[in-house]
Amino acid sequence: MTAIYLICAFLIAAFIFFNRNAVINNVLIILFGLIQVGFTFYACNNYKNVVLQYFTFDSLGLLLLITLTIVSIPALFHSYLYLIRHDETPQSRAIYFSAIVLLITSISAAYLANHIAVIWIFTEMTTLSASMLIYHHRNKLALEGTWKYVFICAISITFVFIGILFLSLALQHAGSSDLSFANLMAYKDQLNPFWLRLAFLFIFTGFTAKLGLVPMYTAGIDAKDKAPAPAGALLASVLMNLGFVGIFRIYTVVSQTPIFHWANLIIFIAAFLSIFVATVYMTKVLNIKRMLAYSGIEHMGIVMLGIAAGGIGYYAAILHIILHTFIKSSLFFQFNQLYRTFQSKSIQYVGNYFKYNPAGSIVLLLGFISATAMPPSGLFVSEFLIFRSLFEGKHIVLLIAVLLLLTIVIWAFGKNILKILFLPVPGIDESKIPKINPWESLTQYLLLFTAIWLGLNPPPVFVQLIQDAVKLLPN
């Protein structure tokens, strides 16, 4: 079934790429959506099974796969809306949809991979497909964004490969050569600490390009800004989770070895610097999409703080990353309506949105409350638990610094969102503002309410899956 899924998805991507007929195109996309949903159900029924030797339906992979499927259906729908409104040529539409199908497929495969080299290959494929999406508008700025994204991701992926080479050196000391995570866990006591240290450093640095942490976060910001918003929603949520999966899987191995505390220190530094950088940019930024992207950097910093702090932090980190996926993608989906209303990305030329589109404004408001982790947001629960784990881990100074930075983030985010919603901008021609169908905001409401529901009243299966995902980590 997994092989069928991969082959079908790649075939559909190829067909869409060469097909110029709109009807066939739409049928193929719906078909892909059905295959994606079907595969997710198949994965749920084969929990913990190994398929095709390189893929395992384990707890973390399964959780993130379900999240991806839930987000990808509205992403395809909003992409469709986006493309019919922009007078696209059949060619650009074909490239866009084929890239998005390829992106979703390779992310799914990378989530489930149980071998570090397989994750690496599929991560490479996400870079290729994402670059096609970023270059969609084919203008000078899109070219610049794509160039930076491709270049930085190419270097990061090379770093990951160097890390894999060092990892195989570390494993040679144990007399084995199989780089699957299960085998690494089996030989965890015999891994050479020196090479393992280097391996972790390189793999971590490489995956930060996808996860969006210091030092490689820069390319992702430009990418989310220049890609069309529905594609940007995928880049800002599920693609970041891919970086998390890569780091988390190697971290699980490292956590059983003597270099565990050193690895935590590295993660603490990177996470704190990410929150700091995000805060600095959030106070200055005027481009709405980039503001949302920086908010993502801040959240990933919080997630990694939870991982490094340990204890209840592990559980909270995975909860946080799943809820963040729903919230950030819904904000990105909403952005297109905002852009259609004002024809501008800059906060300076956007305002009094409540008057023109109440349904969309409430999504923005709810999204803002959710993204800044104010109750009743689900993120409130996970962030609170992460702070508790920091407190219990006796990282008091770090906790105070992070809380201060987060306060500034809330102020900056709130200032901008409230300006968009309520403050009128002079010189707006109201006759040019289009009427927006409130039903287009339905998926955003569903995603936001899912995030609230999962945070406040998580179903037992969900809790069980997260606990199972972190059970290999030390307590």
Binding site: A117, I121, S131, E144, F151, I157, T158, Q172, F194, V285
Partner: protein
């Protein structure tokens, strides 16, 4: 023999650091491809056809022929000027790259490890850092791509240093990586040549937060 080839490889790095013309960079990259083939060939314990074909494809066909030809085509088509335009004088580049080599030698000597072939480790690390230095210190976008290719060469040497037979899957993955990244980088470089007047990194600073 392997050692001689690897030392020539290091010398090629020093040579690049003082080269004035872009075409010299392209030639050095081609030379490095040939050297890599020689080194890999000498490292082979048993000659298997499939393995040999794969290595030939990766080094001779791809690194030594296809990429240099493609780069030469890009330079001609986009009318990129022949001078490399470094931010720093060549003399300082030479000193910096010498320092990189010396530091990696010292670093490698401090590692006590029987599984590791030291000279491979030194060559790969110094190539890696030289590539990063080239990316940081050159103005033209095409020299950035060449820096990236140099990093790839360093990684190739490192994978030889690690020694154990990588599974075919990973080998294919490397092929995919190199093919895809160069193709994509090339395509976008071509576009950049069309869209921007000069292919300098200074032109790529329009994406801002406001």
């Amino acid at each position: 023999m392997t050692n001689v080839l690897l030392i020539i490889f290091i010398i090629s790095l020093l040579y690049v650091s003082i080269a004035n013309r872009i075409i010299t960079y392209v030639r050095v990259l081609a030379l490095q491809g040939v050297i890599l083939f020689g080194v890999t060939f000498l490292q082979l314990q048993a000659i298997e056809t499939w393995n040999l074909v794969l290595i030939m494809l990766e080094t001779i066909v791809f690194k030594a022929i296809a990429v240099p030809v493609f780069l030469g085509y890009l330079i001609k088509r986009n009318k990129i000027t022949r001078v490399t335009e470094p931010y720093l004088p060549n003399f300082i580049s030479l000193i910096i790259i010498t320092m990189i080599v010396v530091i990696t030698v010292l670093l490698a000597n401090s590692i006590q490890d029987t599984h590791l072939d030291k000279i491979f480790f030194i060559v790969s690390l110094s190539t890696l850092f030289t590539g990063l230095y080239f990316i940081a210190s050159r103005k033209k976008i095409i020299t950035h791509v060449m820096g990236y290719l140099m990093i790839e060469n360093g990684v190739f040497v490192l994978s030889l240093a690690v020694g154990n037979e990588m599974p075919n899957l990973v080998n294919l993955g490397i092929m995919l990586d190199v093919f895809a990244s160069v193709l994509i980088l090339g395509i976008f470089l071509n576009k950049i040549g069309d869209v921007f007047k000069a292919a300098d990194v200074d032109q790529l600073s329009n994406l801002k937060d406001y």
